[in-house]
Amino acid sequence: MGVISNGTTLLDAGALDSGVATGAMTLIKELTASSSATLSFVDGASGVVLDSTYKEYIFKFINIHPQTNNVDFQFNASIDGGSNYNVTKTTSQFNAYHNEAGNDQVLGYNAGYDLDNSTAFMNITNDISNEGDMNTAATFHLYDPSNTTFVKHFTGTANNNYNSGGYFQNDYFAGYLNTTSAVNAIQFKMSSGNVDVGTIKMYGVK
């Protein structure tokens, strides 16, 4: 039975009518850290979709807090369902920082944190303080990871507090996963120690 309101079909055949405008950004999966060594999103596991269903995937990081002081929050990708997180990537990173004392502010490139066709984990942000109220918030866009013709571009931004909370930094990172194989898993972790608490939300964009 269809549901028709004021002459407009809203529901029919067990689904919304195709003429009904719906949200284009779909929440796929949320992971919550609890002293977690890694947080991984693997296509086909635990309700995660990371394939050709969406052309763009967005990850949002909320209140990511490390157990260890002054560590980096990082990611890597996998082409074998999460068995290995070691996809080759070329990346860039720059940031602006400013201290709470108000006497040190810089915009600059972070040559120590970019990657040159490397399989290492890429820093989303650097040197996070583990003081009680300090944390990282970030977004990460990954374009067409299942494509088997092109490299996979990604972009992102992050805010964090570092140097024992005395500084704020705003990071900008981007690059490409230099592979024509489909990427089907993404992993996030700290450079040392566990992710104490925090939430990562994964969205697909139609």
Binding site: V3, I4, S5, N6, G7, T8, L10, V20, A21, T22, G23, A24, M25, K55, E56, T90, T91, S92, Q93, F94, L107, G108, Y109, N110, A111, D114, L115, D116, N117, H141, Y143, D144, N147, T149, F150, V151, H153, F154, T155, Y172, F173, A174, G175, Y176, N178, T180, V205, K206
Partner: protein, 209 residues
């Protein structure tokens, strides 16, 4: 007929009353039919909406691949009823770049492709031209704020990443405004030379309520 559940109106007067998401997919253009000289979104044409329905419009580019080597990814707009894609733009662009071969990354302002009251197509891949290598492409997004407004200039922000001709990753930041109070309802994307060999552009509208 209204649909009411537990005293909450779910739908009435031919529309849902409950939220169905703030970002709405409007239109996709791609090269499934073959290479294209450009991709153009015009309000009222082929189901495209580019008017006051949404205060923010978002274009997402996936894997835009040029047919000609060493080209740039560009866009421009037309005011309602206008043609020529030559609206006046003032813009800034900077990029963060790093090579595959070695660490010589840098962030810098690219004065050669900003515009000061220019009417050219706006470059949204900074100064690094795009390779035609089979796996090379540009991806990213462009936000247009309130294009139908007839009081203010129209701001835009683009963020893209691409593989530069000499195997660099270039993270590109472009901002600017169309210096017109006329409503804009048509946007065109193209490479500065040759066709779009392959790629997809999706247009979304973002609600403010």
């Amino acid at each position: 007929m209204a649909i009411i559940s537990n005293a909450v109106t779910i739908a009435d007067a031919g529309a849902f009353s409950v939220g169905l998401g703030a970002m709405t997919f409007i239109k996709e253009l791609n090269t499934s039919g073959g290479a294209a000289a450009n991709m153009t979104f015009h309000h009222g044409t082929s189901s495209v909406v580019l008017d006051s329905t949404y205060p923010i419009y978002k274009f997402v580019f996936s894997n835009m691949h040029p047919a000609t080597n060493a080209t740039f990814w560009l866009f421009q707009a037309n005011a309602v009823g206008a043609s020529g894609f030559n609206e006046t733009i003032t813009s800034t662009t900077f990029r963060s770049v790093n090579t595959e071969a070695s660490s010589n990354g840098q962030v810098d302002y690219i004065a050669s492709i900003d515009q000061a009251q220019g009417t050219s197509f706006q470059n949204i891949c900074s100064d690094g031209d795009i390779k035609t290598d089979n796996d090379s492409c540009i991806s990213g997004e462009l936000l247009i704020f309130n294009p139908s407004n007839t009081t203010f200039v129209k701001h835009f922000i683009a963020h893209t990443n691409h593989m530069v001709n000499n195997s660099q990753s270039s993270d590109n930041y472009i901002g600017g405004y169309f210096n017109t109070t006329a409503a804009l309802d048509e946007f065109q994307f193209k490479f500065n030379s040759g066709n779009i060999d392959s790629g997809t552009i999706k247009l979304y509208g973002i609600k403010d309520s």
